[in-house]
């Protein structure tokens, strides 16, 4: 089976067959031993790595030597399915910007109709006694503002909508 993997902007192709495992076409010698549910010991060409892994929506969250990797993975079958769907991904359509954690909306910094650039602060959310800026994940126009200052907002609730 072939796997297509992305992390930190790099792409990899891994193939696993009963004969062995290749990384970008190069054969690697690999020894995998799980330690409990979330911890793994890997020996890759004798190099030892200890990793903690959890499943995420699109792959795995992996920590090695204190460094986190968000790894997205598709197998051949999934890749075909996803290619078909990719037009539907909201890279330019409507996008709800949601509260990443529960907290208090201290201030909303945009109004409907505002043009925003990627990473521009949209609102200030107070949690754990600190103010946190909620930023735009991509450029767009604010079509709706759902949150108001002083509101206690739950995780995942929309703050505003970009178009």
């Amino acid at each position: 089976m072939k796997y297509f993997i992305q992390t930190h902007g790099h792409e990899y192709e891994v193939e696993i067959t009963p004969d062995g495992i290749t990384l970008n076409g190069q054969k690697v010698q690999m020894d995998w031993a799980p330690v409990g549910k979330t911890r793994h010991s890997l020996l890759v060409d004798h190099h030892s790595y200890e990793a903690v892994a959890r499943e995420s929506q699109t792959g795995y969250q992996i920590i090695i030597a204190g460094k986190p990797f968000s790894v997205e993975i598709e197998d051949e079958r999934q890749r075909k399915l996803n290619r078909g769907r990719s037009q539907l991904l909201p890279t330019s359509g409507k996008l709800n910007v949601t509260a990443p954690i529960p907290g208090l909306i201290v201030k909303v910094l945009v109004d409907p109709g505002d043009e925003v650039v990627a990473d521009q602060p949209l609102a200030i959310l107070e949690a754990m006694k600190m103010e946190n800026e909620i930023r735009a994940p991509r450029p767009g126009t604010v079509s709706e503002v759902h949150a108001v200052a002083g509101e206690n907002i739950n995780q995942g609730k929309p703050i505003c909508t970009l178009e």
């Binding site: 089976m1 009963p18 890997l42 990793a51 460094k67 201030k107």
Partner: protein
């Protein structure tokens, strides 16, 4: 001699204090909110009492409930830790009024130092140099006018403040109005008081502080300095002792100044005098923290003195066991504050259940932690969940040891500041020690430290293997036959899982 102590706090500092009490043979009492029934401090103490719902206003800040528990449990003394009620003069007074020993300075000293204007006046009178600035309680228009006199850049600070809350740096007149609004809003939220004042912002200055101990018999000593310039949003992230910027001569001068500051306020117990130290080795009084500090362990590691045990002895009325000449600084210590925040996502607080945990240990490593496997990290309290402290014979050895310790630290289930700390320890600027309070935000660029590609490849390979195994298991579940043997199974006497 008191026998039973209530610790009016939670998290790592509650455990720190409980351990010191236990090692002194004292009985201990913990208090807890709804969110903390299974917290380590509750499990650690001899006794534990519930004091209210999760929000700290309804539990850890409830002076009445805590005094009530103290009476019910029959304690002799209360240790406030840091944060919560530690610098609340009313709480210290309530303890005294209830016939309890408050393990900290007298209420008057807390009140005096908590009032920034009064503290400033007292320091000036005692000959302690202070940063140019204004009194408290400026209206916005007045603040704008006074800002022109002081000159930019400057700091807006909350009068009731501490911990960087309600503090804003302002670099030009244009930013002033929005910064004032933000500072007041944050100060009101954190302290219920939006009174502010202005202070000149010293460029390229270091935050260097002096730990002092003062007994009830008029003896005051200093335990050397701590360098705390690695800050983000005025929150300290990394501290060390000693400071590369402090010579023995400067240490003696800063130490003597800190002792004078303490004596001018009738101070007793442990305290910290914070200074800004500029490039020309001029130092200015910032504020005095009338309590134990988060970063006290680095001083303990280089002096061999247990500050919390000294707090207990002082509160018991004992004279100091050390003279100034007994204090020797040996080696180097560094602390990293581990917070439940995502350094890759604008430091958003992170909550969740700890599903895997391995804390570092071994030579020269000390961990002060509130974490346990299965713990729910909530958003109710401060995001600092643990501290790693290392000691080394030299600063270089301490940095290398900290890297080693951080790479051993595994926390799964929440995001933490560990990756940021690793990058700081690997940055050449930090290694050279050319620090100031703007280092982290202005001159430290985590993206300059690339992740080693082999780690990335290992992560990629692990992901492939896990996905493959999951796919195989699903396939097996769909077929109604005996579970097929895994490719990865124990491969006989070679005893290795391998393809």
């Amino acid at each position: 001699m008191f026998k039973k102590v209530l610790v009016a706090n939670r998290g790592e500092i509650a455990i720190r204090v409980l351990r010191a009490c236990e090692e002194r043979g004292l009985q201990t009492v913990a208090v807890y909110s709804d969110a903390d029934r299974t917290a380590l401090h509750v499990r650690y103490a001899d006794e534990a009492y519930h004091i209210g719902p999760a929000p700290s206003r309804e539990s850890y800040l409830r002076i009445d409930r805590i005094i009530e528990v103290a009476k019910q449990a029959g304690v002799d003394a209360i240790h406030p830790g840091y944060g919560f009620l530690a610098e609340n003069a009313d709480f210290a007074q309530a303890c005294v009024d209830a016939g309890l020993i408050f393990i900290g300075p007298p209420p008057e000293a807390i009140r005096l130092m908590g009032n920034k204007v009064a503290a400033r006046k007292t320091m000036i009178a005692a000959g302690v140099p202070v940063v140019p600035g204004t009194e408290e309680g400026l209206a916005d228009e007045e603040a704008l006018r006074r800002a022109e006199e002081i000159g930019y850049p400057l700091l807006i600070k909350a009068a009731a403040g501490g911990g960087g809350k309600g503090m804003r740096a302002v670099h030009s007149a244009e930013e002033m109005r929005s910064a004032l609004a933000a500072a007041r809003r944050e100060a009101m939220g954190a302290f219920g008081d939006d009174t502010i004042y202005l202070e000149k912002l010293l460029r390229n200055a270091r935050h260097v502080e002096i730990q002092i101990l003062a007994d009830q018999h008029g003896h005051v000593i200093y335990l050397g300095e701590r360098e705390c310039s690695i800050q983000r949003r005025h929150q300290k992230l990394v501290e060390e002792a000693p400071s590369v910027a402090v010579t023995p001569e400067l240490r003696a001068r800063m130490g003597a100044t800190a002792v004078a500051a303490a004596q001018a306020t009738g101070y007793t117990n442990a305290g910290t005098v914070e200074f800004l130290l500029d490039k020309d080795k001029n130092f200015y009084f910032l504020e005095m923290n009338t309590r134990l500090q988060v970063e006290h362990p680095v001083t303990e590691m280089v002096t061999g003195i247990d500050i919390v045990k000294e707090q207990l002895a002082i509160a018991n009325g004992r004279p100091l066991r050390y003279k100034q000449e007994d204090i020797r600084i040996q080696g180097w210590a560094i602390e990293c504050r581990i917070t439940a925040e995502d350094p890759y996502s604008h430091f958003l607080p992170s909550s969740g259940k700890i599903i895997a945990l391995k804390e570092p240990t071994g030579p020269g490593v000390r961990v002060e932690s509130s974490l346990y496997s299965g713990m729910e990290v909530s958003l109710y309290y401060d995001p600092m969940v643990a501290k790693v402290i290392v000691w080394g014979e030299t600063r270089a050895q301490a940095i290398l040891r900290m890297r080693r310790a951080l790479s051993e630290y595994q926390i799964a289930g929440i995001q933490s500041s560990i990756p940021l700390h690793i990058q700081i320890m690997e940055s050449s600027q930090f290694m050279w020690g050319t620090l100031d309070t703007t280092f982290l935000e202005e001159r430290f660029h985590p993206e300059d430290t690339p992740l080693p590609p082999e780690y990335e490849e290992a992560a990629v390979l692990l992901a492939a293997v896990l996905a493959h195994e999951r796919g195989r298991q699903n396939a097996v579940l769909q077929r109604p036959q005996k579970r097929e043997s895994s490719l990865w199974r124990w491969a006989g006497r070679g005893g290795r899982w391998s393809l």
